[in-house]
Symmetry: C2
């Protein structure tokens, strides 16, 4: 096994296998230590790869094909994959992690099914009841990490507390942020604001001396880096993340749209070099690739509609997690972090 072997589910994204395979080619070109297992229909993958024989043929030895007959439907309920989806590319990609044939897996498929496969094949870390999706938010200087971004539609106060511990260990051990400051997503900064469940989670986090709890944070603070880690339930987290991405996309469009008058056109063309330079950095797709924490394996979730350059980010994220030895570090430290609660 190469140092960084990644399984890539090429079938489950909204845009089909081509952008996935292209991203894989760019990734192995960029990183010498990377080996990618393309999981999907063999004939489809081979027919796409054929077009790149002349340009990328020399990299093909670092790609392997793992055949899978089916594709998991985006609307399939999670249980369906456990019952009947075991020939799907998504299941097989996670299975490669279970069999230790690869160190991590990337999929742009059905989140619920991905989590179900992860829980079923890899199992949970000790003390953690549910997986949570974590990713870095955009930000000017300090960028916060946020979890859960959509693995759980509802969760209990104790599970929110578990996310705080999990995220805190992840940031300390993997990203080198010592004693990361933690914020709980709420709709006001005052202590009496928000749902009872969040107030209970607040007390639980406060009680653990291993955690550096800061305060409640609100939606407008997610990109300001006021804390290192933002903890929330998966519903609110997903709504917030997608609202941020949608707004970024809307503003990018609004900045360049509708230049009817001549003066508008002139001003716009003068502004274009600067806009091109700055807006590229503000593409939310560049934050693509969220880790599924809490499982006994590294699973990276890409956006369903991700394009090649965004899928490349997700593969890079998988490689980073492998290099950082994420799983080993979290496993070694999670029990100690929880011990303090008693």
């Amino acid at each position: 096994m190469t140092v960084s072997a990644v399984a890539l589910d090429v079938m489950s994204g909204d845009k089909g296998p081509k952008p996935c395979i292209l991203a894989a080619l760019q990734a192995v070109k960029r990183y010498d230590d990377l080996h990618i297992v393309l999981v999907g229909h063999q004939c489809v993958i081979q027919s796409v790869l054929k077009n790149y024989t002349s340009t990328h043929g020399s990299l093909f030895h670092r790609l392997t094909i793992e055949h899978a007959d089916h594709v998991t439907d985006m609307s399939a309920p999670p249980l369906q994959i456990i019952r009947s989806g075991q020939e799907s590319s998504l299941w097989k990609a996670v299975q490669l992690v279970q069999q230790k044939k690869v160190c991590a897996c990337v999929s742009a498929g059905n989140t619920g099914a991905y989590i179900a496969a992860g829980r079923c094949l890899l199992g949970m870390l000790p003390h953690i009841e549910r997986p949570a999706i974590i990713s870095q938010m955009p930000g000017m200087n300090r960028c916060a990490f946020m979890l859960d971004l959509g693995a759980n539609t509802t969760c209990s106060d104790y599970q929110l507390y578990q996310f705080a511990v999990l995220g805190s260990v992840y940031l300390a051990e993997v990203h080198g942020i010592r004693h990361p400051s933690i914020g709980l997503l709420n709709i006001g900064r005052e202590l009496n604001k928000g749902k009872q469940m969040i107030k209970n989670a607040y007390s639980l986090i406060k009680k653990n001396p291993n955690l550096n709890f800061s305060r409640y944070v609100e939606g407008h603070e997610l990109c300001t880096g006021v804390v290192d880690l933002i903890v929330c339930d998966g519903f609110s987290g997903n709504v917030a993340l997608k609202s941020i991405e949608g707004t970024a996309r809307y503003i990018r469009r609004a900045l360049v749209a509708n230049k009817k008058r001549l003066i508008e056109k002139i001003l716009f063309y003068m502004a274009m070099p600067w806009l091109r330079y700055r807006l590229t950095k503000l593409d939310p797709g560049l934050y693509n690739g969220a880790a599924l924490l809490g499982l006994q394996g590294i699973l990276i979730k890409s956006h369903g509609a991700a394009r090649t350059e965004h899928l490349l980010c997700a593969i890079e994220q998988a490689r980073k997690e492998i290099k950082h030895n994420t799983l080993k570090h979290i496993t070694a430290n999670i029990s100690t972090a929880f011990l303090a609660e008693n």
Copy 2:
């Protein structure tokens, strides 16, 4: 009573009475039919007004001062205002609506206290259990309205359904959008996605033939205008709205920040006229002024941290609701809209 008489709670905003009073002066200057009752500490208001005698003295006859001894604390629990906050500017401003001395009220104060005062003094419309905050989202062409934006931290499936009816009547009767299309905020578009509570609300809305239900909408669609009305619980709605505002602010800053190299400076100065022209339109403060629907009176909620120009928008919103006869139209049509459910 002048046609459009508005009570303005000048004490409760984060920035103190000055921006409120300035906004009131600008509003009466802009609209001949407007009369504003400034609710707050008489001496404070008079001392601010004194500075504008020379420039705005001719408008003073369309301002009245209603003295209030106290200010409602931003962290005070809603019940506190009912028990002991009746001398506050917030309570007195709502009281003026109850006494029909004004047609609408604007406050930048504590949302929970404002709602409590509204429920207590004005009462709810028939069929509606809880008030909901509604406002227009930013958008390129068609702008969606969204409710609830933070009046309720939790709500039931039936209350979500009530919000759909309420919002639908409001859009049809006040904003002239015939048979507005409705979306339910969720974390996926597929029918099996999301919380059970949302799936139940989906069935309830679908069953009422008076409602034009479209589909689930996700966070990234809030500024795209795919539907006319987005329905959600107050927690998710508040998180989404503030995420949108925070992102807009972050991008505005990111677009103009850190120009270290000479070439960056040149490109930026070339882009500045266009940026100034376009970014002004993207200021989330210009959407300030959300209506509190479901009450038997017109209450407008401004952002706590609103500046003068944003408070002016909130006053304009109050005037618009009065001109549109919002309350009369909603009251006349809400029962018919609910009748269809049986």
